[in-house]
C-alpha cells in the first residue's frame, strides 16, 4: 500500500517536473521569435563606456572624500583630479556620441536629469586645497582646480 502510494507520488512528481520544464514550449508552441537577445557591438561598447564613466565618477568621489579626510594631500589631490575629470568627460562624450543617432527619433517625454552618482561621500562640497608654500595657485580653468566647472550629469543632452 505504502509502496503504491510512493510510486504514485513519484510519478506525479515526475509529471509535474516535466510539465514545468516543457512550459515554454507549451505556452508558445510555434513562436516566431525564438532567439535569445544578443547584444550587438554597439551595446557592448556602450556597456564598456558606461562602466568607464561610472568608474571615473566613483574615483572622483572617492578622491574628494579621501582629500577631505586628509588621506590625500593637496598636492596629490591636484595631480589626480584633472586626469579623472578628463576620463569622466571623455566617457560622457563618447556615450553622447553613441546616443546621438537615437536622438533623431521623435522626441520623447523629456526626462528630468537625475544627479549621478546619487549623493554619496562625494556630495561633500568641493574642497579648496591649500597650496603648499611655493606651489602655484591653480586658476579657475585649470582642470585640477577645485573651481573647475562641475561635471555634466547624465540623463539628458549635454555640451562638453
Amino acid at each position: 500500500m505504502i509502496e503504491s502510494l510512493a510510486l504514485a507520488l513519484g510519478a506525479a512528481l515526475a509529471v509535474a517536473c516535466v510539465l514545468l520544464a516543457a512550459r515554454p514550449f507549451l505556452r508558445e508552441p510555434g513562436s516566431a521569435s525564438d532567439r535569445l537577445r544578443e547584444p550587438g557591438p554597439l551595446e557592448r561598447e556602450r556597456v564598456r563606456v558606461e562602466e568607464e564613466r561610472d568608474r571615473a565618477l566613483g574615483a572622483l568621489k572617492e578622491l574628494e572624500f579621501d582629500h577631505r579626510t586628509g588621506k590625500v594631500s593637496d598636492a596629490d589631490y591636484r595631480d589626480a583630479v584633472g586626469p579623472l575629470r578628463r576620463q569622466a568627460a571623455d566617457a560622457l562624450s563618447r556615450l553622447d556620441g553613441m546616443m546621438r543617432p537615437t536622438m533623431s527619433m521623435p522626441p520623447e517625454e523629456p526626462r528630468v536629469p537625475e544627479p549621478w552618482p546619487p549623493p554619496d561621500e562625494g556630495d561633500l562640497p568641493d574642497p579648496a586645497p591649500t597650496p603648499a608654500p611655493g606651489e602655484p595657485t591653480p586658476g579657475p580653468n585649470d582642470p585640477g582646480s577645485p573651481q573647475h566647472p562641475p561635471m555634466p550629469q547624465t540623463g539628458g543632452p549635454r555640451t562638453l
Partner: protein, 664 residues
C-alpha cells in the same frame, strides 16, 4: 517511502542532465525557449531534491530503521535534535544536503539576477546544472541515502563526537559556504563563455560571494568551538587536514573579495579574479572530497568511502574546463589600465592577495604532501603544526600589517608624506602598546609580542579611519556625531563593514596568540581532598559521581575552584559511555571568565577508583576568538546589507540600456 526518495532523486538527475545539455545547446545556439526550459528544469530539480530531503528527514524523525542510512546514524535513544542532524552526519545525507543547498542557492541566484545578467544567465544555468548533475549521479548510483534493509531492533547510533550543539550548526554552515562559492564560479564562467566580461557578473554575485565567504568563516569558527569543547585537547585549531580544507577556500575567497574591488575601481586584475573564483570553487570541492572520501585520517572525517575517485575526476574536469575557458577568453580579460604606483590602495590589495594565496598554497602543500608521499613512495608522513605555524607567522604578520596600512593609503597613488601623516597615530599607538606589553612581561613570546603590536596598529588604524570619516561627514552637514557616523557607514557599507571584519580578525589574532603563546598547563593525579594550582587557579577534588543520561552513562569528577582565595564554584570534567554506539567520549569542563577573556579548561583523562588523572589548562584571552566570530558576523552583515543607492544606479543604467534597445 524510500521508493519516493529514490524516484525523486532519479527525477532530479534527469532534470539536471537535461538542464545542463539543453541549457548549453540553448546558450550556444541562442534558443530562447530552450533556455527557459532549461531554467525551469533547474527549478523543478530543486523541487524534486526537496521532496527527497523531506523523505529522508521524515524517516529520521520516525527512526525508520528500514532505511539503512537511518539505522547506521541514529538509535532509539538518540535525542530528536541529533536524530534530525544525522541528515548531514553521514556521507549520503551530506551529499543530499550539498545538492539541496546548491540548487536552492543556484535557483535563487538565477531568478534574482534575471534582469541584471540577462545575457549571461543562459550560460549560468547549464554550468550550475552540470555541477549539480555530478552530485545527483553520486546520490543515485554511488551513495544513495535511500537504500533499505530489514529493520534491526536498534540503530548503530551517532558518533559521540557529533553529539554536540555546535555540530548541529557547523556542517550546514560549512556547506552554505562551500556550495555558495558555486554561484560566483558559475557566473564568472558564464560571463567568459558568453563573452560578457563586463562588471555585471561581479555586481550580480557580490552578495552571494560575501554570503558564502561569511558562512564559511562562521562555520570555521563554530567548528573550532566544537573542537575546543568536544575533542578536548585544550586548543582550538590543530591544522587538521579537514580544518585546513575549509580554511583554504576561505583564504582564496578573501583574496578575491579584495582584488575584485581593484577590478571594479580600476579595471585591473581581471584574469587574476577569474582564477581566484575558479580556485575558491575547486578548493571547496577539494574540501568536500577530503572530508567525505576517507582518504585521510582526521578527527573531523567520519567517513570511509568509495566516492574519492569520482570527486578526483570531477575536480580534474572542473580545473581543466575553467583553465581552458580562461585561456580561451584571455584577450577579453586584458586590463586596459596599469598600476600607477607601488604605494597605493590597489597595490596594498595586490600585496595582500599575494600573501593570502601564498599562505593558501603552503597549506595546500601541507595537506597534499602526506597523500602524495603515500601514493608515490608508500611512506606515511605527517605534516605537523610547526610547519603550519611557521607559515602562519611568515605570511600572517604581513597580512595583518597590510590590514592596517591598506585603509590608510589612497587609491591610485599616495605620496610618502601623506602616507606618513596617515600612519603616524596608528604607529604611535602600536609603539605604546608594544612597549607597554614588554614592560608587563609579554616578551616571553616574541611572535606574540609582535602579533599584539601589529594588532594594536590595525585597531588604531580602524579607529582612526572611523574617526576622520565621521569628522568629515559632520563637517558637511550632519547634525549630530551619531548621525554623521551612521551616514558614513550607511553610504559605504562595504568599506566600513570590511573594517569591522578587520577588527574581528584582530580579535581572533589576539585570542589565538593568547592561547598559543601564553597558556599554562599541568598534568596531575588527585585523590579526594587533594589540590592542584595552575596560573592562580586552585582546584580541589571533592569526589566522583555517576549518572544515567538519555543515551549514555556519565562519569564526572567534582572539583572546587578557587582563585586568589576566592571561591568560584565547582566544575565537573569526565567521560560519557554511549550505549548504542559502544564508545566513550571525553567531556571537558570549561569555566570562562568573560572579564579576563580566559578559560580554565580541565580534562579528566582517567578514573581509577577514587583517583582522577587530570590535565588543567588556563587559556588566556581565548574567549576573544569566539567574540571575533560575533564581530565577524556583524561586519559581514553590514557589508551584505542591500545598498539602495547602488540599486538606483544600476536601475538607471538598465533604464538607459533598455530605452536605447527599444529605440534601436
Amino acid at each position: 517511502m524510500a521508493l519516493l526518495g529514490r524516484a525523486a532523486l532519479i527525477v532530479a538527475l534527469g532534470l539536471l542532465a537535461y538542464a545542463a545539455l539543453a541549457g548549453a545547446l540553448a546558450a550556444f545556439r541562442g534558443r530562447r525557449r530552450l533556455a527557459e526550459s532549461a531554467r525551469n528544469a533547474l527549478v523543478a530539480a530543486l523541487g524534486a531534491t526537496a521532496v527527497a530531503s523531506l523523505v529522508l528527514l521524515g524517516a529520521l524523525a520516525a527512526k525508520d530503521f528500514t532505511f539503512t542510512y537511518v539505522a547506521e546514524h541514529t538509535s532509539r535513544e538518540l535525542p530528536l535534535g541529533y536524530t534530525l542532524a544525522a541528515f548531514w552526519s553521514g556521507q549520503e545525507g551530506s551529499l543530499l544536503l550539498w545538492l539541496l543547498i546548491l540548487l536552492g542557492l543556484g535557483v535563487s541566484a538565477v531568478l534574482l539576477n534575471g534582469r541584471l545578467t540577462r545575457d549571461v544567465l543562459p550560460w549560468v544555468v547549464p554550468i550550475l546544472a552540470g555541477v549539480a548533475t555530478f552530485f545527483a549521479v553520486l546520490l543515485v548510483f554511488v551513495a544513495t541515502p535511500f537504500a533499505t534493509q530489514a529493520a534491526p531492533l536498534d540503530g548503530l547510533g551517532l558518533n559521540p563526537s557529533l553529539q554536540n550543539p555546535y555540530m548541529l550548526a557547523h556542517p550546514p554552515l560549512l556547506y552554505l559556504g562551500y556550495v555558495g562559492l558555486t554561484v560566483p564560479f558559475a557566473f564568472a564562467m558564464a560571463a567568459l563563455a558568453s563573452r560578457r566580461t563586463d562588471e555585471r557578473w561581479i555586481v550580480a554575485t557580490r552578495r552571494w560571494t560575501l554570503a558564502a565567504w561569511a558562512f564559511l568563516g562562521i562555520a570555521i569558527l563554530v567548528g573550532a568551538k566544537w573542537a575546543y569543547e568536544e575533542v578536548g585537547w585544550g586548543g582550538w585549531y590543530a591544522w587538521d587536514p579537514v580544518e585546513n580544507a575549509a580554511l583554504m577556500p576561505w583564504l582564496v575567497a578573501t583574496a578575491y573579495l579584495h582584488s575584485v574591488m581593484v577590478q571594479e575601481k580600476k579595471d585591473m586584475l581581471r584574469v587574476w579574479n577569474a582564477i581566484l573564483v575558479a580556485g575558491a570553487f575547486v578548493l571547496s570541492l577539494f574540501g568536500t572530497f577530503l572530508t567525505r572520501s576517507g582518504i585521510l585520517s582526521s578527527i573531523h572525517s567520519f567517513t570511509q568511502s568509495s566516492i574519492g575517485p569520482w570527486f578526483l575526476g570531477f575536480i580534474t574536469l572542473v580545473i581543466a574546463a575553467s583553465t581552458a575557458l580562461i585561456l580561451w577568453r584571455l584577450p577579453l580579460l586584458r586590463s586596459r589600465t596599469r598600476l600607477e604606483s607601488l604605494v597605493s590602495r590597489e597595490a596594498a590589495f595586490l600585496y595582500n592577495n599575494l600573501f593570502l594565496i601564498a599562505f593558501a598554497l603552503t597549506i595546500l602543500w601541507g595537506v597534499l604532501y602526506p597523500i602524495v608521499s603515500e601514493a608515490v613512495r608508500g611512506v606515511t608522513v605527517t605534516v605537523g603544526a610547526p610547519y603550519y605555524d611557521f607559515f602562519a607567522i611568515a605570511f600572517g604578520l604581513p597580512i595583518v600589517l597590510l590590514m592596517g596600512l591598506g585603509p590608510l593609503i589612497a587609491w591610485r597613488r599616495a605620496s610618502l608624506r601623506a602616507l606618513g601623516a596617515s600612519v603616524l597615530w596608528p604607529a604611535l599607538a602600536a609603539l605604546v602598546a608594544g612597549v607597554g606589553l614588554l614592560a608587563l612581561g609579554a616578551g616571553s613570546s616574541r611572535a606574540g609580542l609582535i602579533g599584539y603590536t601589529f594588532a594594536a596598529f590595525v585597531l588604531a588604524a580602524i579607529v582612526h579611519e572611523f574617526a576622520r570619516g565621521t569628522r568629515a561627514r559632520r563637517a558637511t552637514g550632519s547634525a549630530t556625531w551619531l548621525g554623521a557616523f551612521t551616514s558614513l557607514v550607511g553610504r559605504n557599507r562595504r568599506r566600513y563593514g570590511g573594517y569591522v571584519v578587520h577588527a574581528a580578525i584582530v580579535l581572533l589574532l589576539v585570542g589565538a596568540v593568547g592561547i598559543g603563546g601564553f597558556s599554562s598547563s599541568r598534568e596531575t593525579r588527585l585523590e579526594p581532598g587533594e589540590s592542584v594550582t595552575v596560573a592562580g587557579y586552585t582546584l580541589t577534588l571533592l569526589g566522583s559521581d555517576q549518572r544515567r543520561a538519555a543515551n549514555s552513562q556519565e562519569l564526572r569528577a567534582r572539583l572546587a575552584v578557587e582563585r586568589d582565595g576566592e571561591r568560584l564554584g565547582t566544575i565537573s570534567p569526565g567521560k560519557n559511555r554511549y550505549f548504542a554506539e559502544e564508545q566513550t567520549s571525553n567531556e571537558v569542563a570549561i569555566r570562562s571568565d568573560p572579564l579576563r577573556g580566559e578559560d580554565l579548561f580541565v580534562i579528566a583523562d582517567q578514573f581509577r577508583g577514587q583517583t582522577v588523572f587530570l590535565q588543567v589548562i588556563v587559556n588566556p584571552l581565548v574567549n576573544l576568538i569566539w567574540l571575533a566570530g560575533l564581530v565577524f558576523l556583524a561586519g559581514s552583515l553590514v557589508t551584505l546589507w542591500p545598498d539602495a543607492r547602488e540599486q538606483q544606479r544600476l536601475a538607471r543604467r538598465f533604464a538607459e540600456r533598455d530605452s536605447a534597445l527599444a529605440r534601436a
